[in-house]
Amino acid sequence: MEMLDLTVAVLVSTIAAATPLLFAALGELITEKAGVLNLGVEGMMLVGAISGFATAVTTGSATLGILAAVLAGAGLALLFAVLTLSLLANQVATGLALTIFGIGLSSLIGRGYVGTPLDRLPRLDLPVLSDLPVLGPLLFGHDALVYLSVALVFAIAWFLGRTRPGLVLRAVGESHDAAHAIGYSVIAIRYAAVVFGGALSGLAGAYLSLAYTPLWIENMTAGRGWIALALVVFSTWKPGRVLLGAYLFGGVTILQFHAQNMAAFQVPSQILAMLPYLATIAVLVLISRDVTRIRLNAPACLGKVFHPAG
């Protein structure tokens, strides 16, 4: 029974660890499907995390905190969009700038909040269901954002695969010149996709600072924004596989924590802490090896600057 309890505990914390990755990767998926590569996920997550935390502490409302995080992420993404879509700046360089800026901005805002306590985002305890053994904590004992993240996977898969706006979004990422020639507003569609991606990055940050570890620590994302970017490649731009990848990485993170706490493991904690990053590299290598598959699935205009000629 103890083993089962431990397994359930590991799985529950896996879900919690995966949720921010899922939000951020889904946001980036939409951005990249429209043909834009935003490397600023880490920065947007951090600013989302501190905005959400500061707002929740100040107002006492977690909902307002989440809203603030979403707006902050969207705001930074809008800045990115202005630079890359209207002023035609290089997307890689601008994304890096966004991350550097986000790291600085978040620690500047957050310097008064280090060590401030905050209540964890409440679980949606459902009568009876949440008390079920095993299934209760596994399926019905999470906070609202966990359910939102899973619902988003299905919503985005439906949007991209079954709706006309989703088709238009994919078309813009596939060939901006053709989309422009037919008469779609490439720039406007990309603005929307980038801002949506930023909003989800902000939400991912809020999940970290309000639910996962309800605290503000400088650089608390610890590379999760970059792992989310790798997850999009891992998923070959398919929402369902983003879910799979995020939960896989959540699992690696949690196993590493549990291993650190087990006396049986003689491996130093710093070596264990390398695991998620090494796993990211391994996964990238495995997926990227198949060049044809990447070429067939990656949006053909990913990262390319669009300026309608004449």
């Binding site: 088709l167 994919r170 078309a171 596939e174 010149d177 053709a178 020639a181 037919i182 008469g183």
Partner: protein, 528 residues
């Protein structure tokens, strides 16, 4: 201007343009252009590259806005602000460069190009109907990257027809078709015209226009310079109207004997690593010294892959599959092949044959770094590089401000002259050129053709890969056809005609199963 701007016969013109003017920085693309199109006519818009045809089309289709002038639709002044508005009026456009999305299906592509929302399964059914009615066979579920170029054009046409256009604009539609496919397209267009659809047919191919069109408007330098009934004109008179001068034709001294084999391709097969690419299968041919050898074929039949295997950008599976001057070079990269006497002019002059953002001096170094002593112990000798660029500019009369000019600041024809000149001045034994005069004005094209002919007469082997049959017939000694990655037997130019090459371009040589079983993979072209 002739007084044809008002309607003739019954009712107002379907579309009338009055005084359309459009300027871009540094050039006036359209200058007070007048044009009137009647219901049910096939009207040719004729002009060289850069004459302003495409700009005019973009204005009519709402992609661009004119700086001045009026647009009247069936007698009513209209303002066309976007392609969607153009489609609502009843204007359909089949693009010159296809506006399709490779990874999406035919039905999804069509859906993106029409404005009313319609479930994909219903739309697929309607695609079936329209394509059956006009003889444009299409499978709505196929992904576009699996289609041939001709099929892609059908997608565009069907997409237009589904909106019941009353004006259909075709921008250089036959440049990607075999002559037979072009004939089928003409039947479809005549049928549409007989149903009352106006067709604006944009081309610089004079024979087609004479065969198809009722009226022609000729543009040059952004202005309308004439109007005529093309059926009353000769190809030559039309050409002179278009160019505004006398057409220079390249001169080929007759019947030099072919020299020793310079390029031998022997059962070359390659597998494309581009999922949208074509595999080369058992291709064999020989180019001799002093010969111009042409490879015809519709785009997408393996030209890019074959050229990459010739230039060394893509290595061959066996060393002996490609031999230059007897030396097996299949495993050599581009630089080593250059040292063996190969020069190469790629199809895409901007971004393949040259670096657009770099100066002409740097672009001279691009393919010249191996020879001519431009690089010594890893260090670039700037003075020699600049001098090499100036020599190219002077020898080939490239219009440019000097060796420091960026490649992208040159016009298409001048950049092409620079690239061909750069390759010729390396004094190659063998020159390979892809589409050497594509999109180049007639003056530059004639100069380029003459330079290639002169080169062959000095004993250089020349290989031309082109879709333009007129070009191939004008300068080549022998022509072979590439289809689905396979090459036909070469035919002597004086022994064959456009019709027969056209059949080969449609894949006829691939047909006889008994011959196709031949181990060598080479089949004879026809039974006659």
């Amino acid at each position: 201007m002739a007084s044809q701007s008002t309607a003739s016969g019954n009712g107002p013109p379907r579309l009338e343009l009055r005084g359309i003017t459009k300027a871009f920085p540094g050039c006036l693309a359209n200058e007070s252009v007048d044009l009137a199109l009647r219901p049910g006519e096939i009207h040719a818009l004729l002009g060289e590259n850069g004459a302003g045809k495409s700009t005019l089309v973009k204005i009519v289709y709402g992609v661009l806005r004119a700086d001045a002038g009026e647009v009247l639709w069936e007698g009513q002044p209209v303002s066309i602000g976007s392609p969607a508005e153009a489609r609502r009026l009843g204007v359909g456009l089949v693009f010159q460069h296809f506006s399709l999305f490779e990874s999406l299906t035919v039905a999804e592509n069509v859906s993106l190009g029409i404005d009313h929302k319609e479930p994909l399964d219903l739309l697929s059914a309607r695609i079936g109907e329209v394509s059956a009615r006009y003889g444009l066979a299409l499978d709505p579920q196929r992904e576009v990257h699996t289609l041939s170029v001709g099929e892609r054009q059908r997608v565009e046409i069907v997409r237009c027809l589904l909106q019941n256009p009353r004006l259909l604009i075709m921008d250089e539609p036959t440049s990607v078709l075999t002559p037979q496919e072009a004939d089928k397209l003409f039947e479809t267009l005549r049928r549409l015209a007989s149903e009352g659809v106006t067709i604006l047919y944009i081309s610089h191919k004079l024979d087609e226009i004479r065969a198809l069109c009722d009226r022609a408007t000729v543009m040059r330098g952004g202005r309308v310079v004439g109007a005529c009934d093309p059926r009353q004109e000769t190809a030559r008179s039309l050409a002179e109207m278009m160019i505004g001068g006398v057409l220079a034709e390249p001169k080929r001294a007759a019947g030099g004997k072919p020299g020793e084999p310079l390029l031998v391709v022997d059962h070359l097969s390659t597998t494309s690593d581009d999922p949208f690419g074509t595999d080369i299968r058992h291709v064999s041919f020989t180019v001799h010294a002093g010969e111009i050898f042409g490879i015809a074929g519709v785009a997408g039949n393996g030209q890019a892959e074959l050229l990459a295997a010739m230039s060394g950008e893509r290595l061959s599976p066996t060393d002996a599959a490609v031999r230059i001057g007897g030396e097996p070079v299949g495993h050599w990269g581009p630089s080593r092949r250059r040292n063996a006497g190969l020069a190469f002019v790629p199809e895409e002059r901007m971004g393949h044959g040259s670096v657009p953002e770099m100066s002409l001096a740097d672009n001279a170094l691009l393919s010249g770094h191996g020879g001519q002593g431009l690089v010594k112990r890893g260090l670039i000798r700037l003075d020699l590089v600049r001098h090499a660029a100036e020599t190219i500019i002077d020898t080939f009369r490239v219009v440019a401000t000097g060796h420091h000019a960026e490649a992208r600041s040159l016009s298409g024809g001048n950049l092409q002259k620079f690239i061909i000149g750069r390759e010729i001045l390396q004094q190659p034994k063998l020159l390979i050129a892809a589409a050497p005069t594509w999109g180049v004005d007639a003056g530059a094209a004639a100069a380029i053709h003459q330079a290639l002919i002169d080169l062959a007469e000095q004993g250089v082997g020349v290989l031309i890969v082109s879709q333009d049959l007129d070009e191939l017939f004008a300068i080549c000694d022998r022509i072979a056809v590439l289809f689905h990655g396979r090459l036909s037997e070469p035919l002597a130019t004086h022994d064959t005609d456009v019709e027969r090459i056209g059949l080969l371009m449609g894949g006829l040589f691939d047909q006889p199963p008994d011959e196709a079983a031949d181990q060598s993979g080479r089949t004879h072209a026809d039974p006659a």
